[in-house]
Symmetry: C2
């Protein structure tokens, strides 16, 4: 590990100039700053991050990497971003948005933003199974908090806030049961999805607790598309023992179920109760309204910022929040 | 207008300390910074913005206000944000995301971010008719650029980049005409929308040039929803002279048209050619694929950043870009 002095010698500047490059880059001429930054990079110099806590800097920026691909499952990203900004601002901070390559290829971007003091820490989201980012940041003592657990890890690398998907599915089953359904199916994703398995487990456990059947009632969709949701629903209807309730892993799959029910002349709600997940904007405008599990975005964002900035002592560094069941026409009994 | 000296006297600090509060706030103790900022605010002190050009600061941040409401019409916001970040980073800058109240109520937030040097300028989007933000920023000489024109103004307040909606509609009409359609309808929005009137004009002009009828072929939808698109399509089909082509102002309305055609046993493409606007993620996953006009997001973002940062001399401060017609099954002739 290089020292400040070595960087200064390499860049042929004073130690103070290197310090300025790190702490007050606007005070340097652009060419000088570039030369120092090049030396910092070549020598892999890293300032002592522990010396500077999130609480002491005057204007704190929190980094958030904007997803690089349009993805149907991120229908609520704009809601999340707005909630995250609002929560950061409430605590006197701001969100710096950036792009980075996916997975471990993107980590040098995180490291660079932090080393240059552009940001004090990161909020991660869209956590994937075996996500490498969390461990990478933890190893380098770069502050972060994750919206979403790293699935299929025995211990979570670092602090997180997540929504209890299993509890959400159980709430959906409970609601459909209370509206008279006795054969409640589950539209899911491939087994590789930790989030999918979590929501599936909540459905299975609650069905078992209520004495409801589960055999032959799970259909795994290859993709999160309306077409796949419709296909899976057709498969259930054609199975000989059609369901009277469908818990879908996502609003998209639920919209596919609604479409298929319509195509078969069945009424969502009266004939088959349907629930989705995420309460995306479409859930309220589709006809009949889609009953869905809403992620408590404001609370999620507030907890993320509180954990990252360490401003509240009463916030544990792992927070599992309950979603809220928003009931609409698609689950209304006939 | 207060001077630096008056602020220093009011806060009982040196002029250098006030300067630090503005230019290197991390060098001050939090309580000192707070006291100076309070004096700055009370005395309404504003640093001379012209003295500091966008080009000379070491780390430049560009402010972008995240929309505060989930809105079906912003289906491509994540694409825009990603493109904007990538373009900013290419020029060594970053995007600072923030929240603000709508319209003129939000302007003090813009002013504060700029006065505190947190950002060097702003990118505006979701421009509305008579949008007050542009003139407000221009009056205060705060750098900005707008994605979208301010509709119904004789002169545009400040620089902008926009997509030529009239040309887009004309491209859609041309394409439907080339695939054999001779009665091409238009699904639009209420007259209050400048963007809507622009796209409508493009449809009308090209129909007229091609000798196609326009009478009775415009339906204005009250809202941008699938239901409204379906209702408008039903109205056209039931009019006695049904159309063989539909140019929809948005992908959402086009999806409504596709649904209604399906409900009537008509085939989108073979029976009625349909086009949308925005090439949102859904356009490619709906069955059959939706022909739609894609906004050139990367180009838009690059032009916005180039104008705002003044890095390219060949970029005029008003740029009207052509959308790209992405052809899919919904306009394929039978």
């Amino acid at each position: 590990m290089a020292t400040l002095k070595q960087v200064a010698a390499h860049a042929e500047v004073s130690v103070q100039t290197v310090s300025n490059a790190l702490n007050a880059p606007h005070r340097l001429r652009p060419d000088t700053l570039e030369r120092v930054n090049r030396s910092i990079e070549l020598l892999n110099y890293r300032p002592n991050r522990n010396a500077r806590s999130l609480r002491t800097s005057a204007v704190e920026l929190i980094g958030y990497c904007v997803p690089s691909w349009p993805n149907q499952t991120h229908l609520v990203m704009d809601q999340f971003l707005h909630a995250l900004c609002a929560a950061a601002e409430t605590s006197g901070r701001h969100i710096l948005l950036f792009t980075a390559p996916a997975a471990v290829d993107g980590m040098p971007t995180y490291d660079d933003l932090h080393a240059r003091r552009l940001v004090d820490g990161f909020v991660l989201s869209q956590t994937e199974t075996h996500d490498p980012r969390h461990g990478w940041l933890k190893d380098r003592q770069i502050p972060f908090v994750s919206f979403g657990r790293v699935w299929k890890e025995t211990t979570q690398p670092g602090p997180w806030v997540d929504v209890d998907g299993a509890a959400g599915s159980a709430m959906a089953v409970q609601h459909l049961h209370e509206t008279g359904r006795r054969r409640i199916a589950f539209l899911g994703w491939p087994q590789s999805s930790g989030l999918g398995e979590d929501r599936l487990a909540g459905w299975r456990d609650r069905c078992t607790e209520l004495g409801l059947p589960t055999g032959g009632l799970v259909v795994r969709c290859a993709e999160d598309t309306i077409d796949e949701g419709a296909r899976a629903t057709a498969q259930l209807i054609d199975s000989g023992q059609p369901p009277d309730g469908i818990v879908a892993l996502s609003d998209i799959l639920a919209l596919g179920a609604l479409r298929q029910l319509g195509d078969r002349g069945l009424t969502a709600g009266a004939d088959v109760g349907v629930t989705g997940f995420d309460d995306s904007p479409r859930a309220s405008v589709v006809s009949p309204g889609l009953t869905s599990l809403r992620q408590p975005m404001e609370q999620i964002a507030t907890e993320l910022i509180a954990i990252l900035t360490g401003t509240r002592n009463d916030v544990p560094s792992e927070r599992l929040l309950l979603p809220e069941l928003v009931i609409r026409g698609s689950s209304a009994p006939g």
